[in-house]
């Protein structure tokens, strides 16, 4: 179980440090040309290919943030596993939260192929240097939140991630294919939870509406700041990592949930929401980006709690990991 601790991060960074030398070597020039050609052909970069340092850094940041989000994202839903109101829902929720752990693992592996070991990425999370999706800093107060999170949060994640299946970096794209398949289940299951509540007692219906009201705006903000305010998007698109702008993806998502909320018999908390025929765009209310920034920078309702819980699990597990490593070393010695 603990073998990954000794696993080497694949692919030494061939191009590492290239930016330090003023004059690129022949090898670097050839590498850059090869890289540019692959990007121009819209084909895939693999771990052993030469890549610009900025590309490596951007991807490492993005993939590890994504991995951290999966791991931290387990907490709001784990909050309801022991209280799930039916055994079938308990089983589905447990499987879902466990899937998110699996997503974290695929993504850490993909990030490691870029040269940063998982332990280091984990340290960045625990020390608060790394970011993760701000939506997980909101509390899951009621059972209906299991529905709203599945439908809206996993739904927004899918809208974000479907194009990432075709990201230019091979290991990332392939990890996203597996992740997206499972996210579709999660979204459907969340929808089913809300549907059941919306057709239940007045209290249940109220609980469902309240959860949708609370998660609507934070889920729209999952796509990131408006295009005009998202300086890194351009470069990511040029590198074929990102395929659509933040606003583009947000539009698709809104279009999707507008239809689905009708099936639920619930409403979206947005009186300004309408489709503008002329621009072909969904017009939604002004999102509260001040709140977004505050939550991202640590002031959300649960930021401290989420990190403390992760740190606690890590620290409480230290003696276990040490024992596993010591045992693995003994076994390796026996074989040698």
């Amino acid at each position: 179980m603990a073998e990954h601790h000794t696993k080497q991060a694949a692919a030494p960074a061939e191009g590492k440090g290239a930016h330090l030398s003023a004059v690129p070597s022949d090898a670097e020039r050839a590498g850059q040309a090869h890289f540019d050609e692959i990007i121009a052909k819209d084909s895939r970069i693999e771990p052993r290919d030469w890549m610009p340092e900025g590309y490596r850094k951007t991807l490492t940041r993005q993939i590890s943030q994504h991995a951290h989000s999966e791991i931290i994202g387990m907490q709001p839903e784990a909050n309801w596993i022991t209280r799930a109101p039916s055994l079938k829902r308990k089983a589905i929720l447990m499987a879902k939260v466990q899937d998110e752990a699996g997503h974290g693992l695929y993504l850490y592996s993909a990030a490691e192929t870029l040269g940063t070991p998982r332990d280091e990425l984990n340290d960045q999370l625990l020390s608060g240097r790394a970011k993760y999706s701000s939506i997980f800093n909101y509390p899951a107060r009621t059972w209906a939140d299991m529905g709203a999170i599945g439908w809206l949060v996993d739904g927004a994640a899918i809208a974000n991630q479907v194009p990432l299946c075709r990201a230019s970096y091979g290991p990332y794209g392939r990890a996203m294919v597996r992740v997206c398949k499972e996210e579709s289940f999660h979204q459907r299951q969340g929808f089913e939870i809300l549907l059941e509540l919306a057709n239940g007692s007045d209290q249940q219906k109220q609980m469902a509406q309240d959860a949708v009201d609370r998660f609507y705006e934070p889920s729209l903000m999952m796509f990131g700041p408006p295009d005009g305010d998202s300086p890194n998007s351009q470069q990511s698109m040029a590198w074929n990592i990102k395929r659509f702008t933040n606003d583009d993806l947000r539009q698709r998502f809104v279009g999707m949930i507008v239809e689905q909320v009708k099936v639920l018999g619930l409403t979206l908390p947005d009186p300004e929401l309408r489709f503008d025929e002329e621009s072909g765009q969904w017009i939604h209310k002004e999102l509260n980006w001040d709140e977004f920034k505050a939550v991202i920078s640590g002031n959300g309702p649960c930021n401290v709690q989420r990190l403390a819980r992760r740190r606690e699990a890590h620290e409480n597990g230290a003696w276990v990991r040490e024992a596993a490593a010591a045992y693995a070393a003994q076994q390796a010695e026996k074989v040698a």
């Binding site: 179980m1 603990a2 990954h4 052909k41 819209d42 084909s43 895939r44 693999e46 052993r48 387990m74 907490q75 784990a78 022991t82 209280r83 799930a84 109101p85 039916s86 055994l87 079938k88 089983a91 447990m94 499987a95 466990q98 752990a101 699996g102 693992l105 439908w151 899918i158 809208a159 479907v162 194009p163 299946c165 230019s168 794209g173 997206c180 996210e183 579709s184 289940f185 979204q187 299951q189 509540l197 239940g200 007692s201 209290q203 249940q204 074929n240 395929r243 689905q260 099936v263 606690e312 699990a313 409480n316 597990g317 230290a318 276990v320 040490e322 024992a323 490593a325 010591a326 045992y327």
Partner: protein
């Protein structure tokens, strides 16, 4: 090297089209469970006697309480691989619990959820061992070892039960429990042999949990009453002792020399821990009598 496919964005619109349909039929109804408890609900007869129903309830309650305990680890395990592994084991146990409870409920006229959420503490039939708190990871692993070896022996015997449903549930369950057993053994070796600290914690855990082992193997009137549908648990004890002593010896640990605690969970007399566990598990369902979820 880079793959030969050019234009990986081709077909991206189709990808989008396929994700938005949340009403499409699920291909995976109860994820993680090889056996679908729902099948038992719709097909076949209920238990032939009250005794067999009570027996199924016992089997189901052990699995349910253990699942509830284990599920706490998801998002708290020593490493993410263990979040996944313990989550898997909890899911398996929950699946077995649902099958047994649904089956018992067919005679008792109750659904699995009525049995899980609306029985009072004294109506549960779980053994004290599965009710014990998770403690540190060593406690959880020792509890897993003691229970999984027991369940593995028990379910293996029950595949020959004269009750066809119990036999069928156990035929599926035994494969999963065999993995739980292996998982517990591997960790017992790691922690027993790993460091001084891990071995110390394992010894504490063994001494603290051992008193609840006896209850698992105590023959009751019920075992006479169910006849060939069940197993007299005392007949499993020597195989269990043999296997556990071998594992502990491999791990450099000793079988604790401590007396059994008086435990009558099978008669509804539970540890102090169960009340809290049930309060948490049942709170939401009981707030909404008659609701469906």
């Amino acid at each position: 090297m880079s793959s030969s496919n050019t234009h990986i964005t081709e077909g991206i619109e189709d990808d989008f089209a396929s994700f938005g349909d949340v009403t499409a039929s699920a291909t995976r109804v109860t994820p993680g469970n090889a056996l679908r408890p729902e099948d038992i609900a719709v097909a076949g007869e209920g238990p032939a006697s009250d005794a067999v129903a009570e027996y199924a309830l016992q089997l189901g309650d052990d699995a349910l309480i253990l699942a509830q305990r284990l599920s706490w680890w998801i998002s708290r395990a020593p490493e993410i691989e263990e979040d996944v592994a313990l989550g898997n084991i909890a899911l398996d146990q929950l699946g077995h619990a649902r099958s047994f409870l649904i089956y018992a409920g067919k005679r008792l006229g109750k659904t699995e959820d009525e049995l899980a959420y609306w029985r009072e503490e004294e109506e549960f039939r779980s053994a004290h061992l599965v009710e014990q708190p998770n403690g540190d990871f060593a406690v959880t692993i020792v509890r897993q070892l003691l229970v999984a070896v027991y369940q593995n022996l028990l379910y293996t015997e029950l595949t020959k039960s004269s009750d066809q449903t119990i036999a069928a549930v156990c035929a599926k369950a035994v494969k999963e429990v065999d993995y739980h057993r292996d998982h517990a053994i591997q960790w017992t070796l790691r922690l027993g042999r790993g460091t001084e600290e891990s071995a110390r914690r394992m010894r504490v855990a063994l001494a603290d949990l051992w008193p609840y082992v006896g209850e698992l193997f105590a023959d009751e009137q019920l075992h006479d009453d169910v006849g060939d549908a069940g197993v007299h648990p005392s007949t499993l004890r020597s195989a269990w002792d043999e296997e556990i002593s071998a594992v502990l010896a491999d791990a450099g640990l000793e079988v604790p020399q401590v007396p059994d605690a008086m435990s009558r969970g099978r008669h509804g007399e539970h540890s102090e821990h169960l009340g809290y566990l049930l309060a948490e598990m049942q709170v939401l369902a009981r707030k909404h009598p008659g609701a469906t979820w």
